[in-house]
Symmetry: C2
């Protein structure tokens, strides 16, 4: 039997979160955290709604997952996020010692890659999963925003 | 008349927060955010209490200051923090566009300097204010912790 729980499956769940952010007028980034094929945290960007630069999808997902697990380390967890994490989120992921970070679209301006943020040695990071869907959602958001202003 | 509101004055307030963290068994780091010589946010590390790697003093202070100001940008604000910010906190400070970051002790292992985290071009960063007090509090914490284990 085919395993339906592949990276695309969970990235689609993260994209659903990104769409919720879009509807709220937030830069559309979504994230889920998974353990043993089970989603233990879902979050989307809320920086505008909360007036808080720290309210990125990943930050909220890290807090929610730790709360679910009852411990602050996210060993054996995988984060799926639609956009490459920034310095702040990569720094938080560093402290969490998360096992895997899978992202969709690359952030060529402020992503942890171009900014040179260090990941924890225990963390594997991979980009490009459903990156076209994630990038096209972002593009649509900024086109609509420009047309409204 | 001498201006009592110098960097040492506000760093002492941050050190008071660090002492509260110490009493709670948290790594003793404290922070305050100041606008026009007025403290608008006080916070201390709560990572153990909240089981959350994102609960650094600076992160909570950024959220509290934005809440006080009613906006997410911390222009014209100064953060005083007893220990050099990590990648996560420096990344959050980047997004906040804060005017100044003044820290006490240098973190030679995980500080934003050694980790190469990029600050916002509008942000001035300076270390070494009451660094001996901050470093000695940290040292005392780790000695006590070692003796308890």
């Amino acid at each position: 039997m085919e395993n339906i729980f592949d990276d695309s499956y969970f990235m689609k769940k993260a994209l659903q979160e990104a769409e919720i952010a879009f509807e709220k007028g937030e830069i559309p980034v979504g994230a889920v955290i998974v353990v043993d094929n089970r989603i233990i945290a879902r979050a989307h960007n809320l920086t505008e709604t909360l007036n808080d630069v720290t309210a990125h999808a990943e930050m909220q997902a890290i807090t929610a997952a730790a709360n679910f697990l009852g411990g602050k380390y996210l060993k054996n967890c995988t984060l799926y996020v639609t956009l490459e994490p920034c310095q702040m989120c990569a720094g938080a992921l560093y402290w969490s010692q998360i096992s895997k970070v899978i992202y969709g679209a690359t952030d060529t301006q402020r992503g942890c890659g171009v900014m040179g943020t260090q990941m924890h040695p225990k963390t594997e990071i991979k980009g490009g999963v459903l990156h076209e869907e994630a990038a096209s959602l972002m593009k649509r958001f900024f086109i609509e925003k420009r047309n409204l202003n």
